[in-house]
Symmetry: C2
Subunit: 246 residues, 2 copies
Protein backbone atom coordinates (compact mmCIF):
# COMPACT_ATOMS: atom_id res chain seq x y z
CA UNK A 1 0.00 0.00 0.00
CA UNK A 2 2.76 2.39 1.03
CA UNK A 3 4.86 1.49 -2.01
CA UNK A 4 1.86 1.93 -4.21
CA UNK A 5 1.23 5.38 -2.70
CA UNK A 6 4.82 6.46 -3.15
CA UNK A 7 5.04 5.26 -6.71
CA UNK A 8 1.75 6.96 -7.54
CA UNK A 9 3.06 10.20 -6.02
CA UNK A 10 6.34 9.89 -7.90
CA UNK A 11 4.42 9.28 -11.11
CA UNK A 12 2.14 12.26 -10.62
CA UNK A 13 5.14 14.46 -9.77
CA UNK A 14 6.76 13.42 -13.05
CA UNK A 15 3.53 14.21 -14.89
CA UNK A 16 3.33 17.56 -13.14
CA UNK A 17 6.91 18.50 -14.01
CA UNK A 18 6.40 17.50 -17.64
CA UNK A 19 3.22 19.57 -17.59
CA UNK A 20 5.04 22.60 -16.24
CA UNK A 21 7.87 22.44 -18.76
CA UNK A 22 5.30 22.38 -21.56
CA UNK A 23 3.02 24.89 -19.92
CA UNK A 24 1.94 28.12 -21.48
CA UNK A 25 2.28 31.34 -19.49
CA UNK A 26 -1.46 31.24 -18.87
CA UNK A 27 -1.14 27.79 -17.33
CA UNK A 28 1.71 28.90 -15.09
CA UNK A 29 -0.26 31.84 -13.77
CA UNK A 30 -3.14 29.44 -13.11
CA UNK A 31 -0.80 27.39 -10.94
CA UNK A 32 0.30 30.39 -8.84
CA UNK A 33 -2.28 33.17 -8.85
CA UNK A 34 -1.34 36.64 -7.77
CA UNK A 35 -3.71 38.44 -5.49
CA UNK A 36 -4.83 41.45 -7.46
CA UNK A 37 -6.57 44.52 -6.10
CA UNK A 38 -10.32 43.94 -5.69
CA UNK A 39 -9.90 40.21 -6.28
CA UNK A 40 -12.92 38.08 -5.40
CA UNK A 41 -12.32 34.75 -3.69
CA UNK A 42 -15.17 32.24 -3.42
CA UNK A 43 -15.27 29.11 -1.27
CA UNK A 44 -17.73 26.48 -2.44
CA UNK A 45 -18.64 23.12 -0.99
CA UNK A 46 -20.67 21.25 1.60
CA UNK A 47 -20.96 21.42 5.41
CA UNK A 48 -17.18 21.46 5.86
CA UNK A 49 -17.06 24.74 3.94
CA UNK A 50 -20.42 26.03 5.23
CA UNK A 51 -19.21 25.54 8.84
CA UNK A 52 -22.07 27.33 10.54
CA UNK A 53 -22.15 30.44 8.38
CA UNK A 54 -25.24 32.63 8.56
CA UNK A 55 -26.80 31.92 5.17
CA UNK A 56 -29.12 34.92 5.41
CA UNK A 57 -26.03 37.14 5.24
CA UNK A 58 -23.99 37.26 2.09
CA UNK A 59 -21.64 40.10 2.96
CA UNK A 60 -18.08 39.75 1.71
CA UNK A 61 -15.37 39.59 4.40
CA UNK A 62 -17.95 39.34 7.18
CA UNK A 63 -17.32 36.94 10.06
CA UNK A 64 -20.89 35.61 10.27
CA UNK A 65 -21.16 35.22 6.50
CA UNK A 66 -17.86 33.34 6.39
CA UNK A 67 -18.71 30.73 9.05
CA UNK A 68 -16.38 29.12 11.56
CA UNK A 69 -14.32 26.97 9.24
CA UNK A 70 -11.27 27.09 6.99
CA UNK A 71 -12.72 29.85 4.73
CA UNK A 72 -12.97 32.16 7.78
CA UNK A 73 -9.43 31.30 8.89
CA UNK A 74 -8.03 31.98 5.41
CA UNK A 75 -10.11 35.15 4.94
CA UNK A 76 -9.05 36.63 8.28
CA UNK A 77 -5.40 36.16 7.51
CA UNK A 78 -5.58 37.48 3.94
CA UNK A 79 -7.66 40.51 4.94
CA UNK A 80 -5.36 41.40 7.83
CA UNK A 81 -2.19 40.90 5.79
CA UNK A 82 -3.32 42.76 2.66
CA UNK A 83 -5.66 45.57 3.70
CA UNK A 84 -4.86 47.64 0.63
CA UNK A 85 -6.02 45.00 -1.84
CA UNK A 86 -9.71 45.43 -0.98
CA UNK A 87 -10.32 41.72 -1.36
CA UNK A 88 -13.86 40.34 -1.43
CA UNK A 89 -14.09 36.94 0.16
CA UNK A 90 -17.28 34.88 0.07
CA UNK A 91 -18.42 31.53 1.39
CA UNK A 92 -21.29 29.71 -0.32
CA UNK A 93 -20.81 26.19 1.06
CA UNK A 94 -24.08 24.48 1.95
CA UNK A 95 -24.36 21.60 4.38
CA UNK A 96 -25.30 18.26 2.79
CA UNK A 97 -24.35 19.29 -0.75
CA UNK A 98 -23.10 16.86 -3.37
CA UNK A 99 -21.93 17.63 -6.92
CA UNK A 100 -25.50 17.70 -8.35
CA UNK A 101 -26.51 20.22 -5.64
CA UNK A 102 -23.66 22.54 -6.63
CA UNK A 103 -24.71 22.17 -10.25
CA UNK A 104 -28.28 23.31 -9.47
CA UNK A 105 -27.21 26.52 -7.75
CA UNK A 106 -24.03 27.21 -9.73
CA UNK A 107 -25.27 30.20 -11.75
CA UNK A 108 -26.30 32.24 -8.70
CA UNK A 109 -23.81 30.88 -6.20
CA UNK A 110 -20.71 30.89 -8.40
CA UNK A 111 -20.94 32.34 -11.93
CA UNK A 112 -22.81 35.49 -10.89
CA UNK A 113 -20.26 36.17 -8.12
CA UNK A 114 -17.49 36.26 -10.78
CA UNK A 115 -14.70 34.89 -8.59
CA UNK A 116 -11.08 35.45 -9.52
CA UNK A 117 -10.17 32.50 -7.32
CA UNK A 118 -12.67 29.68 -6.86
CA UNK A 119 -12.09 26.97 -4.27
CA UNK A 120 -14.24 23.82 -4.34
CA UNK A 121 -14.37 21.05 -1.73
CA UNK A 122 -17.02 18.48 -2.61
CA UNK A 123 -17.36 14.72 -2.44
CA UNK A 124 -17.85 13.43 1.09
CA UNK A 125 -21.67 13.50 0.89
CA UNK A 126 -21.56 11.93 -2.56
CA UNK A 127 -20.34 8.74 -0.84
CA UNK A 128 -21.83 9.21 2.64
CA UNK A 129 -25.40 9.62 1.39
CA UNK A 130 -24.88 6.60 -0.86
CA UNK A 131 -23.73 4.50 2.11
CA UNK A 132 -26.84 5.73 3.99
CA UNK A 133 -29.10 4.70 1.10
CA UNK A 134 -30.18 8.32 0.40
CA UNK A 135 -28.41 8.62 -2.96
CA UNK A 136 -27.23 6.28 -5.68
CA UNK A 137 -24.49 8.18 -7.55
CA UNK A 138 -21.49 6.01 -8.37
CA UNK A 139 -17.88 7.29 -8.28
CA UNK A 140 -18.13 7.72 -12.06
CA UNK A 141 -21.22 9.92 -11.64
CA UNK A 142 -19.18 12.02 -9.18
CA UNK A 143 -16.26 12.31 -11.58
CA UNK A 144 -18.35 13.16 -14.62
CA UNK A 145 -20.55 15.64 -12.77
CA UNK A 146 -17.51 17.36 -11.27
CA UNK A 147 -15.86 17.48 -14.70
CA UNK A 148 -18.98 19.00 -16.28
CA UNK A 149 -19.22 21.60 -13.49
CA UNK A 150 -15.65 22.73 -14.17
CA UNK A 151 -16.23 22.75 -17.92
CA UNK A 152 -19.23 25.01 -17.40
CA UNK A 153 -17.32 27.23 -14.97
CA UNK A 154 -14.43 27.81 -17.37
CA UNK A 155 -16.81 28.58 -20.22
CA UNK A 156 -18.47 31.36 -18.17
CA UNK A 157 -15.34 32.50 -16.31
CA UNK A 158 -12.38 31.87 -18.63
CA UNK A 159 -9.87 33.68 -16.38
CA UNK A 160 -10.83 32.11 -13.06
CA UNK A 161 -8.17 30.33 -11.02
CA UNK A 162 -9.65 27.12 -9.68
CA UNK A 163 -8.46 25.26 -6.59
CA UNK A 164 -9.85 21.75 -6.16
CA UNK A 165 -9.65 20.57 -2.57
CA UNK A 166 -9.00 16.89 -1.94
CA UNK A 167 -12.00 15.23 -0.28
CA UNK A 168 -10.86 13.66 2.98
CA UNK A 169 -11.96 11.61 5.94
CA UNK A 170 -10.33 10.71 9.23
CA UNK A 171 -10.52 7.07 10.29
CA UNK A 172 -12.83 7.51 13.27
CA UNK A 173 -16.41 8.43 14.17
CA UNK A 174 -18.84 7.73 11.34
CA UNK A 175 -16.06 6.59 9.01
CA UNK A 176 -15.74 2.80 9.01
CA UNK A 177 -14.47 0.13 6.63
CA UNK A 178 -17.58 0.40 4.45
CA UNK A 179 -16.16 3.68 3.07
CA UNK A 180 -13.20 1.92 1.48
CA UNK A 181 -11.90 1.43 -1.13
CA UNK A 182 -14.67 3.49 -2.77
CA UNK A 183 -13.58 6.68 -1.00
CA UNK A 184 -10.06 6.26 -2.42
CA UNK A 185 -11.51 5.89 -5.91
CA UNK A 186 -13.48 9.11 -5.49
CA UNK A 187 -10.41 10.99 -4.20
CA UNK A 188 -8.44 9.78 -7.21
CA UNK A 189 -11.26 10.96 -9.49
CA UNK A 190 -11.22 14.43 -7.88
CA UNK A 191 -7.49 14.63 -8.56
CA UNK A 192 -8.00 13.42 -12.13
CA UNK A 193 -10.60 16.14 -12.72
CA UNK A 194 -8.28 18.77 -11.17
CA UNK A 195 -5.44 17.75 -13.48
CA UNK A 196 -7.66 17.68 -16.54
CA UNK A 197 -8.72 21.26 -15.86
CA UNK A 198 -5.26 22.44 -14.81
CA UNK A 199 -6.62 23.37 -11.38
CA UNK A 200 -4.57 23.80 -8.21
CA UNK A 201 -4.74 20.69 -6.03
CA UNK A 202 -5.12 21.18 -2.28
CA UNK A 203 -4.04 17.91 -0.63
CA UNK A 204 -6.17 17.85 2.52
CA UNK A 205 -6.24 14.05 2.87
CA UNK A 206 -2.47 13.80 2.47
CA UNK A 207 -1.91 16.46 5.16
CA UNK A 208 -4.39 14.95 7.62
CA UNK A 209 -2.74 11.57 7.05
CA UNK A 210 0.63 13.16 7.86
CA UNK A 211 -0.77 14.75 11.01
CA UNK A 212 -2.16 11.41 12.22
CA UNK A 213 1.08 9.61 11.31
CA UNK A 214 2.93 12.11 13.50
CA UNK A 215 1.05 10.74 16.49
CA UNK A 216 -2.16 12.77 16.92
CA UNK A 217 -5.45 10.91 17.30
CA UNK A 218 -7.70 11.29 14.23
CA UNK A 219 -10.47 12.56 16.58
CA UNK A 220 -8.30 15.61 17.36
CA UNK A 221 -8.78 16.71 13.75
CA UNK A 222 -12.38 15.54 13.20
CA UNK A 223 -14.35 13.82 15.97
CA UNK A 224 -16.88 12.21 13.60
CA UNK A 225 -14.28 11.55 10.91
CA UNK A 226 -15.90 14.04 8.50
CA UNK A 227 -16.36 17.47 10.12
CA UNK A 228 -13.06 19.04 11.18
CA UNK A 229 -12.50 20.36 14.66
CA UNK A 230 -11.38 23.94 15.15
CA UNK A 231 -7.80 22.63 14.98
CA UNK A 232 -8.65 20.71 11.81
CA UNK A 233 -10.05 23.79 10.07
CA UNK A 234 -6.96 25.77 11.01
CA UNK A 235 -4.70 23.05 9.57
CA UNK A 236 -6.79 23.12 6.37
CA UNK A 237 -6.36 26.89 6.12
CA UNK A 238 -2.59 26.45 6.34
CA UNK A 239 -2.57 23.71 3.68
CA UNK A 240 -4.86 25.73 1.41
CA UNK A 241 -2.65 28.82 1.54
CA UNK A 242 0.52 26.80 0.93
CA UNK A 243 -1.08 24.99 -2.02
CA UNK A 244 -2.75 28.01 -3.63
CA UNK A 245 0.34 30.11 -3.00
CA UNK A 246 -1.41 33.16 -1.58
CA UNK B 1 0.92 65.68 20.85
CA UNK B 2 3.32 63.55 18.80
CA UNK B 3 6.32 64.75 20.80
CA UNK B 4 4.47 64.04 23.99
CA UNK B 5 3.64 60.53 22.80
CA UNK B 6 7.23 59.85 21.81
CA UNK B 7 8.69 61.12 25.03
CA UNK B 8 6.17 59.11 27.04
CA UNK B 9 7.08 56.01 25.05
CA UNK B 10 10.78 56.64 25.51
CA UNK B 11 10.24 57.10 29.23
CA UNK B 12 8.23 53.93 29.58
CA UNK B 13 10.84 52.03 27.56
CA UNK B 14 13.53 53.22 29.99
CA UNK B 15 11.38 52.09 32.92
CA UNK B 16 10.83 48.74 31.24
CA UNK B 17 14.54 48.18 30.61
CA UNK B 18 15.40 49.09 34.19
CA UNK B 19 12.70 46.66 35.29
CA UNK B 20 14.12 43.86 33.15
CA UNK B 21 17.70 44.31 34.31
CA UNK B 22 16.51 44.03 37.91
CA UNK B 23 14.08 41.22 37.17
CA UNK B 24 14.14 37.87 38.92
CA UNK B 25 14.06 34.71 36.86
CA UNK B 26 10.41 34.27 37.78
CA UNK B 27 9.62 37.67 36.36
CA UNK B 28 11.47 36.88 33.16
CA UNK B 29 9.54 33.68 32.64
CA UNK B 30 6.36 35.68 33.26
CA UNK B 31 7.37 37.87 30.34
CA UNK B 32 7.79 34.96 27.95
CA UNK B 33 5.68 31.95 28.92
CA UNK B 34 6.40 28.54 27.48
CA UNK B 35 3.48 26.51 26.30
CA UNK B 36 3.51 23.46 28.52
CA UNK B 37 1.66 20.22 27.90
CA UNK B 38 -1.99 20.46 29.02
CA UNK B 39 -1.70 24.22 29.47
CA UNK B 40 -4.99 26.06 29.92
CA UNK B 41 -5.41 29.40 28.17
CA UNK B 42 -8.32 31.65 29.11
CA UNK B 43 -9.56 34.72 27.22
CA UNK B 44 -11.56 37.16 29.33
CA UNK B 45 -13.26 40.39 28.42
CA UNK B 46 -16.32 42.04 26.90
CA UNK B 47 -18.09 41.77 23.52
CA UNK B 48 -14.82 42.05 21.59
CA UNK B 49 -13.66 38.83 23.25
CA UNK B 50 -17.13 37.23 23.38
CA UNK B 51 -17.50 37.74 19.59
CA UNK B 52 -20.65 35.69 19.15
CA UNK B 53 -19.58 32.62 21.13
CA UNK B 54 -22.29 30.17 22.14
CA UNK B 55 -22.40 30.81 25.89
CA UNK B 56 -24.35 27.61 26.55
CA UNK B 57 -21.29 25.66 25.42
CA UNK B 58 -18.15 25.78 27.49
CA UNK B 59 -16.12 23.14 25.71
CA UNK B 60 -12.39 23.83 25.43
CA UNK B 61 -11.02 24.17 21.87
CA UNK B 62 -14.51 24.15 20.38
CA UNK B 63 -15.30 26.54 17.52
CA UNK B 64 -18.75 27.55 18.77
CA UNK B 65 -17.52 27.99 22.35
CA UNK B 66 -14.62 30.15 21.16
CA UNK B 67 -16.70 32.62 19.12
CA UNK B 68 -15.71 34.38 15.92
CA UNK B 69 -13.08 36.75 17.26
CA UNK B 70 -9.39 36.92 18.08
CA UNK B 71 -9.57 34.09 20.69
CA UNK B 72 -10.82 31.72 17.96
CA UNK B 73 -8.10 32.86 15.53
CA UNK B 74 -5.39 32.35 18.16
CA UNK B 75 -6.81 29.04 19.35
CA UNK B 76 -7.07 27.60 15.85
CA UNK B 77 -3.46 28.38 15.09
CA UNK B 78 -2.10 27.11 18.42
CA UNK B 79 -4.14 23.90 18.27
CA UNK B 80 -3.11 23.16 14.69
CA UNK B 81 0.56 23.97 15.30
CA UNK B 82 0.95 22.09 18.58
CA UNK B 83 -1.37 19.09 18.52
CA UNK B 84 0.77 17.13 20.97
CA UNK B 85 0.48 19.72 23.75
CA UNK B 86 -3.20 18.93 24.44
CA UNK B 87 -3.91 22.59 25.10
CA UNK B 88 -7.23 23.65 26.60
CA UNK B 89 -8.38 26.99 25.30
CA UNK B 90 -11.44 28.78 26.71
CA UNK B 91 -13.30 31.99 26.00
CA UNK B 92 -15.39 33.58 28.77
CA UNK B 93 -15.78 37.10 27.37
CA UNK B 94 -19.28 38.52 27.88
CA UNK B 95 -20.77 41.33 25.82
CA UNK B 96 -21.27 44.59 27.71
CA UNK B 97 -18.89 43.73 30.56
CA UNK B 98 -16.92 46.32 32.51
CA UNK B 99 -14.37 45.69 35.26
CA UNK B 100 -17.04 45.33 38.01
CA UNK B 101 -18.83 42.69 35.90
CA UNK B 102 -15.64 40.65 35.61
CA UNK B 103 -15.19 40.99 39.35
CA UNK B 104 -18.65 39.53 40.05
CA UNK B 105 -18.08 36.39 37.99
CA UNK B 106 -14.33 36.02 38.51
CA UNK B 107 -14.40 32.96 40.82
CA UNK B 108 -16.39 30.80 38.40
CA UNK B 109 -15.22 32.30 35.13
CA UNK B 110 -11.52 32.62 35.91
CA UNK B 111 -10.18 31.22 39.21
CA UNK B 112 -12.04 27.91 38.94
CA UNK B 113 -10.77 27.40 35.38
CA UNK B 114 -7.17 27.59 36.70
CA UNK B 115 -5.62 29.14 33.60
CA UNK B 116 -1.88 28.91 33.01
CA UNK B 117 -2.19 31.90 30.68
CA UNK B 118 -4.90 34.48 31.31
CA UNK B 119 -5.65 37.18 28.75
CA UNK B 120 -7.85 40.14 29.72
CA UNK B 121 -9.26 42.83 27.42
CA UNK B 122 -11.55 45.19 29.34
CA UNK B 123 -12.25 48.90 29.38
CA UNK B 124 -14.22 50.07 26.36
CA UNK B 125 -17.61 49.68 28.07
CA UNK B 126 -16.27 51.33 31.23
CA UNK B 127 -16.10 54.56 29.22
CA UNK B 128 -18.82 53.91 26.61
CA UNK B 129 -21.55 53.21 29.19
CA UNK B 130 -20.44 56.31 31.08
CA UNK B 131 -20.76 58.44 27.93
CA UNK B 132 -24.23 56.92 27.44
CA UNK B 133 -25.23 57.79 31.00
CA UNK B 134 -25.62 54.12 32.02
CA UNK B 135 -22.62 54.02 34.39
CA UNK B 136 -20.68 56.49 36.47
CA UNK B 137 -17.26 54.88 37.06
CA UNK B 138 -14.36 57.33 36.63
CA UNK B 139 -11.02 56.37 35.08
CA UNK B 140 -9.68 55.96 38.64
CA UNK B 141 -12.48 53.51 39.45
CA UNK B 142 -11.43 51.57 36.33
CA UNK B 143 -7.77 51.57 37.36
CA UNK B 144 -8.39 50.60 40.98
CA UNK B 145 -10.96 47.92 40.10
CA UNK B 146 -8.63 46.42 37.49
CA UNK B 147 -5.73 46.50 39.96
CA UNK B 148 -7.81 44.74 42.64
CA UNK B 149 -8.92 42.10 40.13
CA UNK B 150 -5.29 41.27 39.30
CA UNK B 151 -4.33 41.29 42.98
CA UNK B 152 -7.08 38.76 43.66
CA UNK B 153 -6.11 36.68 40.63
CA UNK B 154 -2.47 36.39 41.66
CA UNK B 155 -3.43 35.45 45.21
CA UNK B 156 -5.52 32.52 43.95
CA UNK B 157 -3.32 31.62 40.97
CA UNK B 158 0.25 32.55 41.93
CA UNK B 159 1.80 30.91 38.83
CA UNK B 160 -0.53 32.34 36.19
CA UNK B 161 0.93 34.31 33.30
CA UNK B 162 -1.24 37.36 32.71
CA UNK B 163 -1.56 39.24 29.44
CA UNK B 164 -3.29 42.61 29.65
CA UNK B 165 -4.65 43.75 26.31
CA UNK B 166 -4.63 47.45 25.54
CA UNK B 167 -8.18 48.82 25.25
CA UNK B 168 -8.58 50.40 21.83
CA UNK B 169 -10.94 52.31 19.59
CA UNK B 170 -10.84 53.29 15.94
CA UNK B 171 -11.75 56.89 15.10
CA UNK B 172 -15.02 56.18 13.30
CA UNK B 173 -18.57 54.94 13.88
CA UNK B 174 -19.71 55.49 17.46
CA UNK B 175 -16.34 56.91 18.50
CA UNK B 176 -16.37 60.70 18.43
CA UNK B 177 -14.49 63.51 20.18
CA UNK B 178 -16.44 63.02 23.41
CA UNK B 179 -14.30 59.88 24.04
CA UNK B 180 -11.11 61.94 24.36
CA UNK B 181 -8.92 62.58 26.23
CA UNK B 182 -10.61 60.32 28.81
CA UNK B 183 -10.06 57.22 26.69
CA UNK B 184 -6.31 57.96 26.59
CA UNK B 185 -6.27 58.26 30.37
CA UNK B 186 -7.95 54.88 30.72
CA UNK B 187 -5.52 53.25 28.28
CA UNK B 188 -2.62 54.68 30.27
CA UNK B 189 -4.18 53.30 33.47
CA UNK B 190 -4.49 49.83 31.91
CA UNK B 191 -0.80 49.97 31.04
CA UNK B 192 0.05 51.17 34.54
CA UNK B 193 -1.85 48.25 36.07
CA UNK B 194 -0.14 45.81 33.68
CA UNK B 195 3.29 47.10 34.68
CA UNK B 196 2.50 47.03 38.38
CA UNK B 197 1.57 43.35 38.11
CA UNK B 198 4.40 42.47 35.75
CA UNK B 199 1.89 41.38 33.14
CA UNK B 200 2.53 41.08 29.41
CA UNK B 201 1.24 44.11 27.51
CA UNK B 202 -0.58 43.52 24.22
CA UNK B 203 -0.53 46.85 22.34
CA UNK B 204 -3.75 46.66 20.31
CA UNK B 205 -4.28 50.45 20.09
CA UNK B 206 -0.72 51.00 18.94
CA UNK B 207 -1.05 48.37 16.22
CA UNK B 208 -4.42 49.61 14.98
CA UNK B 209 -2.97 53.14 14.88
CA UNK B 210 -0.08 51.84 12.78
CA UNK B 211 -2.48 50.07 10.40
CA UNK B 212 -4.52 53.25 9.93
CA UNK B 213 -1.36 55.35 9.49
CA UNK B 214 -0.35 52.97 6.70
CA UNK B 215 -3.36 54.10 4.73
CA UNK B 216 -6.29 51.82 5.58
CA UNK B 217 -9.61 53.35 6.59
CA UNK B 218 -10.41 52.85 10.28
CA UNK B 219 -13.75 51.29 9.22
CA UNK B 220 -11.83 48.43 7.60
CA UNK B 221 -10.72 47.36 11.07
CA UNK B 222 -13.89 48.22 13.02
CA UNK B 223 -16.95 49.71 11.31
CA UNK B 224 -18.44 51.12 14.53
CA UNK B 225 -15.06 52.06 15.98
CA UNK B 226 -15.35 49.49 18.77
CA UNK B 227 -16.12 46.02 17.43
CA UNK B 228 -13.41 44.71 15.10
CA UNK B 229 -14.18 43.37 11.66
CA UNK B 230 -13.02 39.89 10.70
CA UNK B 231 -9.80 41.52 9.45
CA UNK B 232 -9.47 43.41 12.75
CA UNK B 233 -9.79 40.26 14.83
CA UNK B 234 -7.18 38.54 12.69
CA UNK B 235 -4.78 41.46 13.16
CA UNK B 236 -5.41 41.27 16.93
CA UNK B 237 -4.58 37.57 16.91
CA UNK B 238 -1.28 38.32 15.22
CA UNK B 239 -0.43 41.11 17.68
CA UNK B 240 -1.44 38.93 20.65
CA UNK B 241 0.80 36.05 19.60
CA UNK B 242 3.76 38.33 18.93
CA UNK B 243 3.32 40.06 22.30
CA UNK B 244 2.70 36.96 24.38
CA UNK B 245 5.44 35.11 22.54
CA UNK B 246 3.55 31.89 21.88
Amino acid sequence: MMNHTISRRAASKATLLAGISAATTAQLSQAAPKLKKNATILFQGDSITDAGRDRKRQTANDARSLGRGYPAHIAGDLLAESPKLDLRIHNRGISGNKVPDLDKRWQVDCIDIKPDILSILIGVNDIWHKLNGRYDGTPEVYRDGFDALLERTKKSLPDVTIAICEPFVLRCGAVNDSWFPEFETRRAFAEEVAKKHNAIWVPFQAKFDEAVSSGTAPEYWAADGVHPSHAGHSLMAKVWRESVGI
